[in-house]
Amino acid sequence: MEKVMEILRQMSGWVDPLVKSSGITLSLSVLSVIIGILGGTFIALGRISKNKLINKVCGGYIFLFRGTPLLMQLFFIYYALPLAIPAMTLNNRFVAALIAFSVNSAAYQAEIIRAAIQSIDHGQAEAARSLGLTPNQTMFLVIIPQAIKRMIPPIGNEFIMVLKDTSLVSTIALVDLMKRTSQIQSSQATALVYLPSAVIYLIFTGVFTWLFNRLEHHHARYE
């Protein structure tokens, strides 16, 4: 009994530093996914565009950022770019990580958004066109509102992937939840720190899974 109390007392001392460091984890994932959705929408529209050049450029972007490791992109932006172009030195680690995660997430989300848009029955666009709506009106008033519901589950999935992938930032010495966990583990030579740390990750993923389910439900109200 005393042993258990001792462990609990030890763990409660870790909660504060772990929770503080998880702010980086949370803000980095939320911001990257939001920027990724915005960027991904433009890339998706480019992929659907009949303009061959725009189409190729957007296709190339997705090929590049989905086809190379995220860790490589992170290192490239933070370590390699300043060596090549000194003006591109990013002193702020958070900004460097945010850029790497956003450009990477945009590539994945572009494909999610493109697939959702193209899954909408072509008859919808024909009806809109026969009513005189312009291609832009058709896209933003008819197609995208229907496609959003189909994007939500895969974007929720993407969010959870990003949330866990943010642990990679420990490699550029940004102190996120994972980095703090490994610091406590090595300084206090304890394995127990993984328990509260995992619980925090699970709370985040649990809350966001619930949120995305609510969002999907809200967008399915007309069905």
């Binding site: 026969s130 009513l131 009106q137």
Partner: protein, 252 residues
């Protein structure tokens, strides 16, 4: 003067010619039934009038305006986009699969284009939409989403939605083919009253009895060509072409 005049319409998909020298004149207030076996090019022809398909060659006049003048797929009319849209809006289209917007209520479906294209204020667009929805007998469904409606009701909404743009001509592409048999009647009755109100209509249909009753003119198409056309009585009772007779024998 003809409201629609189609001259020598040809349409090719690669080497396959799906429309071959199709000619058609539609007078104001006329109801034209286009019949024929599957794959005859009936729907393609109707869709070509509305630019949902691009013809390879031929001329299309709508309400006296030259809309298409194509040779080898190249349009020589050089219409500005705005003018083209204006001419296309003289034609309202009703689709086989309704194509109602599922994320909009009945009222929003009908009022959307008048607001966004005709730039009517929302109250005015909705007021007019309500009149049209009443005309197709769906006043009790104004705020209902399409998922809650039957196929027959959806098609009536689609008719109201097309009418909201105040077209001079209504194109119907097999409007009852996707419906359960017991729902066909309600759609045909809306179309009948539309015909009686003097609307010019082109109807691609398999409802031979309806075409016979409502149409002033019947076009029989087969293999991408118009094989025969005439008044319903003449065509149904005294078909000249062997293929027309064979088709009518099979369906009647």
């Amino acid at each position: 003067m003809a409201v629609i005049q189609a001259i020598d319409i040809c349409k090719k998909f690669g080497d396959l010619e799906v429309l071959h020298n199709v000619n058609l004149d539609v007078e104001k207030g006329e109801v034209v039934g286009i019949i024929g076996p599957s794959g005859a090019g009936k729907s393609t022809f109707l869709r070509a009038l509305n630019h949902l398909e691009t013809i390879t060659s031929g001329k299309i006049y709508v309400d006296g305006h030259l809309l298409d003048d194509r040779v080898n797929g190249i349009n020589r009319t050089n219409l500005p986009k705005k003018k083209e849209t204006e001419i296309l809006l003289e034609m309202g289209m009703v689709f086989q699969r309704f194509n109602i917007f599922p994320h909009k209520t009945v009222l929003e479906n009908v009022a959307l284009a008048p607001q966004k294209v005709r730039k009517l204020s929302k109250p005015l667009a909705e007021e007019r939409a309500k009149e049209l929805i009443a005309r197709v007998g769906l006043t009790d469904k104004l705020d209902v989403y399409p998922a809650k409606l039957s196929g027959g009701q959806l098609q009536r909404v689609a008719i109201a939605r097309a009418l909201a743009m105040e077209p001079k001509i209504m194109l119907f592409d097999e409007p009852t083919s996707a419906l359960d048999p017991e729902l066909v009647g309600e759609v045909l009755s809306v179309m009948r009253s539309l015909a009686e109100s003097g609307m010019t209509m082109l109807i691609v249909t398999h409802e031979i009895a309806f075409a016979r009753e409502v149409a002033n003119k019947i076009i029989f198409m087969s293999g991408g060509e118009v094989l025969e056309h005439g008044a319903p009585r003449q065509l149904f009772e005294n078909a000249q072409n062997e293929k027309t007779r064979a088709f009518l024998n099979a369906v009647l």
